[in-house]
């Protein structure tokens, strides 16, 4: 009788600890971030969420990248520049973890914008991405383009992160280390600090959750 009790206790403990290790999988949906607007449609109030506006850039393989390039995909966006002496290398090291984990998923992509397009040309970005171990722009697109358009897409109109030139900042630019998770409707579903491994762990945990929303 006592033996049974102990066995039961063991099983319960193992289950409890396993659950606490896994976290609450599939519990709730990710939030939708950004300013919301409300519109009356047929007498009912409809919520209009903040979405990423249209853009046009060029990636490391000289291909045009627009919102349509991420049709049917969730993607992670960030901002960097090639000669950045501060947080960019660690962001790229962390983004590589995300890339390695999800690169084979056809519903996933990464979009890295340079904020120094004068220096970071298509050819430079090709060399940069090859040196990181990214052989083509199929999954991870490193884009350059018109500087004003890149700053606009980073701002309150787009990804809600500060980017810009600043002579006082190391390397001459200020930018956030954020990784921004975008869903298939181009809404912002998560902001993570790309310089902190545990926040990137959270992102890697959230990507399957977001993909699961499209499964049924």
């Amino acid at each position: 009788m006592q033996k049974k009790g102990i066995t039961l206790l063991c099983v319960t403990l193992i289950l409890a600890v396993t659950w606490s290790c896994n976290g609450n999988k599939g519990a709730q949906k990710l939030p939708i971030l950004g300013r919301q607007e409300f519109k009356e449609v047929d007498g009912k109030l409809d919520t209009i969420y903040h979405t990423i506006p249209e853009f046009s850039f060029y990636d490391q393989d000289s291909l045009e990248v627009t919102l349509a390039s991420f049709e049917g995909k969730v993607y992670v966006a960030d901002f960097f520049f090639g000669t950045c002496p501060t947080i960019c290398p660690i962001m790229k090291q962390q983004m590589l973890r995300v890339y390695d984990k999800f690169k084979d998923n056809s519903e996933f992509g990464i979009l890295s914008h340079t904020i120094d397009p004068a220096h970071d040309t298509v050819a430079y970005l090709k060399d940069f991405s090859m040196r990181l171990g990214v052989s083509d722009s199929k999954v991870w697109k490193f884009v350059t383009g018109d500087q004003d358009e890149i700053y606009r897409i980073g701002s309150a109109e787009g990804y809600l992160v500060p980017v810009g030139e600043d002579a006082d900042a190391p390397g001459g630019f200020i930018h956030s280390g954020a990784f921004i998770l975008i869903d298939k409707e181009k809404r912002i579903r998560g902001l993570y600090d790309g310089t902190k491994p545990f926040e990137v762990d959270a992102l890697m945990n959230d990507i399957p959750k977001l993909l699961a929303e499209y499964e049924d």
């Binding site: 033996k3 102990i6 206790l9 063991c10 403990l13 193992i14 600890v17 606490s20 290790c21 000669t83 002496p85 501060t86 947080i87 290398p89 660690i90 790229k92 090291q93 590589l96 940069f128 040196r131 990181l132 171990g133 190391p170 390397g171």
Partner: protein, 149 residues
């Protein structure tokens, strides 16, 4: 017999919790047997400087980033000329270099505010961390390369 059962239960619980955490083993364990007290103090100061000035690019594990940023761990470029690296730390670097037969071409920023003492500590750290092994560099050797203003 009864005690044994509880013992095994405690063991079981311990194992389960160990499974949750990830075991981290220090890469610098053998340093304690190689460096003397002073050397260890400098190594430890150097680690703090490394975290502040170098780690963003060369990474916590000293492995660098792809073929973009060269490694310090097992780096022939560093270990063949530890004193020469004092110049790189102080004045930065521009143009292509070869590390372990791989070409790198990313500029390294200068650190003009570091003193020769701080550079010595940094060099003792990076030439002895992550399995690297080198005789602790002297202050004199550093100042021969980068005179303290």
């Amino acid at each position: 017999m009864k005690i044994k059962k509880w013992e095994s239960l405690v063991l079981l619980i311990t194992f389960i919790f160990m499974g949750c955490g990830s075991g981290t083993k220090s890469d610098n364990e053998d340093v304690h047997s190689r460096l003397d007290t002073k050397g260890l103090q400098q190594f430890s100061n150097g680690k703090q400087l490394y975290t502040r000035y170098c780690q963003n690019c060369h990474m916590e594990n000293g492995e660098g980033l792809g073929t973009l940023i060269p490694p310090l761990k097992d780096s022939d470029y560093l270990l063949n000329d530890v004193a020469g690296s004092a110049r790189t730390i102080k004045y930065g670097l521009k143009g292509p270099i070869k590390v372990n037969s791989i070409d790198y071409n990313q500029p390294m920023p200068a650190n003009p505010d570091l003193t020769s003492l701080e550079i010595q500590e940094l060099l003792i750290y990076i030439s002895n961390a992550w399995g690297n092994k080198a005789e602790p560099i002297t202050l004199e050797a550093v100042e021969n390369v980068v005179p303290n203003q």
